[in-house]
């Protein structure tokens, strides 16, 4: 605390001594922990149609370090990752991802194909060999999170599709990656 007070006092002195030396404001772009939704693929024929609702407003704010939580100027989505969580069978999989905000219907976001093994480490929305984004859906998602002061309270992520028959329940997950611009002091 003493260091911080000293720093603040001297910082104030410096800003009066040399106001042209320090950019004001200093804007830093920080990558936040992703907001994640997962769908369960039950044992059986390998088909899945599952949804999960995330308290996205709270989760985003919890992912922001408390030292600059009240200094966020902008928020943007910079990537979406599809991955598997847990042991998965070998074989091809294909499916679609949708999202729904508190108001409105479901919106198609992306189509994914490939092998389950391809998604072990996660596949980016920008990987053209595995994922085909729905540009209108991506834009609708981006627009929904463009105003830091008016974020949706919740987002429901739904995954549908099918793959090889599974003998052990596992999950397909979607990570939405956010970047925040914060005013640093």
């Amino acid at each position: 605390m003493k260091t911080k007070l000293l720093f603040v006092a001297l910082f104030v002195a410096l800003t009066t001594m040399g106001p042209d030396c320090i950019n004001d404001p200093i804007i830093v772009a920080v990558n936040l922990d992703p907001v994640t939704g997962c769908w369960t693929v039950n044992t059986g024929n390998g088909a899945f149609n599952d949804s999960t609702t995330i308290n996205v407003d709270l989760e985003i704010k919890n992912n922001i370090d408390e030292s600059y939580r009240d200094k966020i100027l902008k928020l943007r989505i910079y990537d979406i990752i599809v991955r598997v969580a847990g042991p998965y069978p070998t074989g091809p999989v294909s499916g679609d991802g949708y999202f729904r905000l508190p108001t409105g219907g479901g919106i198609h976001l992306l189509h994914f194909t490939g092998q389950y093994a391809d998604y072990g480490a996660g596949v980016s929305l920008f990987d053209p060999t595995h994922i085909t984004p729905d540009n209108a859906g991506v834009q609708a998602l981006v627009n929904a999170f463009s105003d830091i002061n008016n974020l949706p309270q919740t987002i429901t992520l739904r995954g549908t599709g099918g793959g090889p028959a599974v003998t052990q329940q596992f999950q397909l997950c979607c990570d939405i990656k956010f970047q925040a611009e914060a005013k640093a002091q």
Partner: protein, 297 residues
Amino acid sequence: MKPLRQFLQCGVALLILTLLLGVSFASADSTLENAVKAFGQKEVEGYIQPMADFFGANMSAGWYHSAAIPQMGFSLSVNVIAMGSVVGDDQKSFTLSPPGFAPFKTATVFGGQGGSTTNPGGLSYAGSGGALNATLFPLATLQLHIGSIYGTEVVIRGLPIPEISGAPKVTFFGAGIRHSISQYLVEFPVDIAAGVFFNTIKFGDLIEMKSFAFGAQASKSFSVLEIYGGFAYEKSSMDLTYGSTTAGGGNVNISLDGANKFRGTIGLGLNLAILHLYGDANLGTVTNFSAGLGFGF
């Protein structure tokens, strides 16, 4: 604000701020420090590389202002030396290449507004804005010259930085040794010496900067004026260690090499009995200046 006044105010302000930022960064309680900790390794490397370049160039500056070293006899001088590296346009931006986006230019710590890019899919990514607006990046030190035995003198430098409760310890120390070459030459028109120098600045366990330089110096006196110069090879590094708070950042261990590898120096000194004033320009990858005031014999 008039240019000279702005230059001096900014220089003093930046010197203090540089040290404070180091203390604050290492003591983990500033918003800027927490934000920088949110950088992944690749972004922080580009963002602070110029700071590594400038610290390195500054640490290797100001070690001498004359090549004349007595062969024998006690000599001592106490000096206050200031150094400054010129912040060029090249040091204000770097190219960032985030996955899924085309490379784009964004600001370093000395830049202005951060850049951004949007990919064909409609997603955007931005770099951070710069923090410091300066034309010169400064450093200062106290320096002691002690000689001389068989044309050899020892140079010691450092800056006593008071300990602040709760903050990591800051140490700034350097040492060098210089030897007269011209003592072996009969009636050589100029004085010639060679030297090797080490320097280290540490902010706790978080930031450590080191430099090493060796080279040759020459000088010639004309009454109270003395022209001096030299060439030196130098190497510097900045090591940064912290736990990143960004998604997937993990522990970040960065070692950045200073850009300066070689410098040429030209300077002018004024010797008034025990008072010595001097200043020099250093040309290398980083353009660097130093000036000093010394008392001694």
